[in-house]
Amino acid sequence: MAHAHKLEILRGLIKFKSNTQKIWGVLILLSIITTVEVILGIYKPESLSGHFLGMKALNWIFIILTIVKAYYITWDFMHMRDEVPSLKRMVVWTAVFLIIYLVFILLQEGGYIHDVYHNGYIKFDF
């Protein structure tokens, strides 16, 4: 019981026979994602340079792919998939909440200062 592993990824789409097999499966998945990132990073397709929510669509793709990779590293390499739900929540919710909070505040402030510089030190002209 102590060493029981959940052997399916992608919500049961791919099932593995043994833990070792699952590890290699996850490696292949991570390698594919990294390759896609590198190819997009080298060629930077013009079609993805449009802005979406204040950032280039391409950058959003990079960030989402990174979070997908982080999920598989945590869930399968760090065995988070096999931990009890309360441990998962304790780690993930704490980190995710604080990081989103911090990133929002700092990026908002950075953008504000950029505008102050850009508009000749006037941001709001009432």
């Binding site: 060493h3 833990n19 070792t20 590890i23 290699w24 490696l27 991570l30 390698s31 990294t34 990132e37 590198v38 997009l40 990073g41 080298i42 930077k44 340079s49 950058n59 990079f62 960030i63 792919l65 990174t66 990779k69 982080a70 590293i73 945590t74 399968d76 390499f77 760090m78 065995h79 931990e83 009890v84 309360s86 441990l87 304790m90 780690v91 704490t94 980190a95 604080l98 990081i99 911090l102 990133v103 700092l106 990026l107 402030e109 950075g110 953008g111 200062i113 950029h114 510089y117 850009h118």
Partner: protein, 326 residues
């Protein structure tokens, strides 16, 4: 077995002690706590990088132009290739680590030993690559000129291709006068002298019609602005203060010095994590060889160190995205 197990009389009582909260052992849970706090530290650094970048969003260096080198391929530009290799090495060493943990669950000592060794080798290759990346970045590639306001002027030919200072500037011998105490100001720092003086660069630009100045300001397509020939000469003569070759904490030939500061700090802090991970892995490796865990009938220590090692990989995934991709 019952002779060796100590019964505390609290079995089945949740608050009676002897129960593992969250079904995780003490050590493993503490490792998770450490990882959460360390993750927040790294997020703080990366968010600070994001702050500075958003502040100078229209003049931030383009990573594809900064990290273009691959060892043994001199003078060729291959953005992303080497860092992709580094990422792959780190993911690969994560895989060997998780295989070691898996072998540990089955109490296979020889397999754990081999996988731990491979993990250590992967870690060393990564740290070595990072050292190489640092040294390339510090040395610089093209050279540039810094203006009074601290901005960077780079040089391109009429096709927009970068031109190195050494291709059009002729150095005049610089007399490097040793600062003596007699002249006062003992504490004045004596830095290294760049290969060229500003006069050399101005002369070089005047005598080469095909060279133009490129500023850091990004145009609407996200490319740096190239000045006309006349503007180039004007800009250089009126504003240039010093020649910058390579990058350090004060000057950065690739653009904003903040970029270099964050690069050194964040990849340095991550590299330090990799280094300490390698050291811890080596300790565990020897413990495995000595049979410490074999006697214990539990390889949980490998698992705990594994958690740390995967975390280092996890952080790199984010550093890779925010420094090299976005």
């Amino acid at each position: 077995m019952s002779t060796t197990v100590v019964n505390t009389g609290t079995e089945g009582k949740t608050w009676g002690g002897g129960t593992k909260p969250l079904h995780a052992s003490y050590g493993k849970m503490m490792m998770w706590f450490f990882i959460v706090s360390d993750a927040l530290t790294f997020s703080g650094f990366l968010a600070a990088y994001g702050f500075s970048r958003f502040k100078f969003i229209d003049s931030w260096p383009i990573a594809d132009e900064v990290f273009t080198h691959v060892p043994f391929l001199h003078g060729q530009e291959h953005p992303m290739i080497y860092v992709a290799f580094m990422t792959f090495i780190l993911i690969m060493s994560s895989v060997t680590m998780v295989l070691a943990v898996d072998a540990g669950h089955h109490l296979k000592k020889s397999k754990v030993t081999i996988y731990m060794l491979l993990t250590i080798i992967g870690g060393l290759i990564f740290v070595g690559s990072q050292a190489w990346e640092w040294s390339t970045f510090i040395k610089g590639s093209y050279g540039a000129v810094q203006t009074k306001g601290g901005n960077i002027l780079q040089f391109v030919d009429t096709n927009g291709e970068r031109v190195a200072l050494k291709d059009f500037v002729v150095a005049t011998p610089v007399e490097n006068v040793m600062h003596e105490d007699v002249n006062g100001l003992v504490s004045e720092a004596q830095g290294t002298t760049p290969t060229y003086t500003i006069e050399n660069v101005i002369h070089g630009l005047e005598s080469h019609d095909n060279i133009l100045v490129r500023t850091q300001a990004l145009n609407e397509h996200g490319h740096p602005t190239v000045l006309s020939r006349e503007e180039s000469l004007n800009k250089l003569k009126s504003q240039a203060t010093q020649v910058v070759e390579g990058a350090n904490l004060h000057h950065n030939e690739y653009g904003s010095p903040l970029f270099a500061d964050f690069f050194f700090f964040i990849t340095g802090f991550h590299g330090f994590h990799v280094f300490s991970g390698v050291v811890i892995n080596i300790i565990i490796f020897f413990n495995v060889i000595l049979g410490t865990y074999e006697k214990r009938k539990s390889y949980e220590m490998v698992e705990k160190v594994g958690l740390y090692w995967h975390f280092v990989d996890l952080v790199w995934v984010f550093v890779f995205t925010f420094f090299y991709l976005v």
